[in-house]
Amino acid sequence: MEFTKEVDASGLNCPLPILRCKKGLSELEAAQVLKIIVTDPGSVKDLNAFCAQTGHTLLQLDQNGKTFTFYIKKRAD
């Protein structure tokens, strides 16, 4: 999947993946895609909740062993 920016939050625990995701998205234009890599299993539910509450769109979630890769499209302002 194409993306504009990549954030690696591997090894980080709650709430850091969410904070990194928010920061990454703030550096994007509307409709651009952020790729974020996390290893904290709790952040799978959390990033879904983050998207549901903020209006950003979770396009895709890939799991490879203990690594999760999210593709999130920034909402229109």
Binding site: P15, L16, L19, F50
Partner: protein, 155 residues
């Protein structure tokens, strides 16, 4: 219109420093407007120097310990420092943010910090010991934002 979160932070140990800063920084990331009212021992969390934050196994029977430790051992001089060191090591090993980092995340995302003026006076804290950019106020200041908040928590 943005949702609002009001927190009271009343505890000043290393472990209990986490909930207010985790919730506040996360809520800010979720576009909440957040205010934290720091009172009593919670004021310690506003000091420039956070290296004083400690955790004690004493009177804290739920704290996981590598080996069971009777109270009279926990009372020995230096035990609190050892427990604090072990906790900080664990925090770093597990990729958990430091309190400094979480507090900075709060400040960068516009979380408002209010120090309880009465407790500042009671404990003879010096405003110069606190970080920049905080406000000082009393219970009425808390209710000013708590009254219109969607979520209110006492920690």
């Amino acid at each position: 219109m943005a949702k609002k979160l009001a927190l009271i932070a009343s505890k000043g140990t290393l472990d209990w420093a986490y909930p207010p800063f985790i919730l506040a920084s996360t809520a800010a990331a979720l576009d909440y407007e957040v205010s934290i009212f720091f009172t009593f021992y919670g004021l310690t969390l506003l000091k420039k120097d956070l290296s004083d934050l400690k955790v004690s196994p004493l009177g804290n029977p739920a704290m996981p310990m590598p080996v069971p430790m009777p109270n009279f051992v926990q009372m020995l001089p230096g035990m609190e420092s050892i427990a604090t060191m072990m906790m900080k090591q664990k925090i770093a090993d597990k990729g958990v943010a430091s309190i400094e980092d979480l507090r900075n995340a709060c400040l960068e995302s516009g979380v408002k910090f209010i120090a309880c003026q009465m407790t500042v006076d009671l404990f003879d804290f010096k405003p110069a010991d606190f970080i920049e950019g905080i406000e000082f106020g009393g219970a009425a200041s808390f209710f000013e934002f708590a009254g219109e908040s969607d979520v209110n928590l006492f920690i």
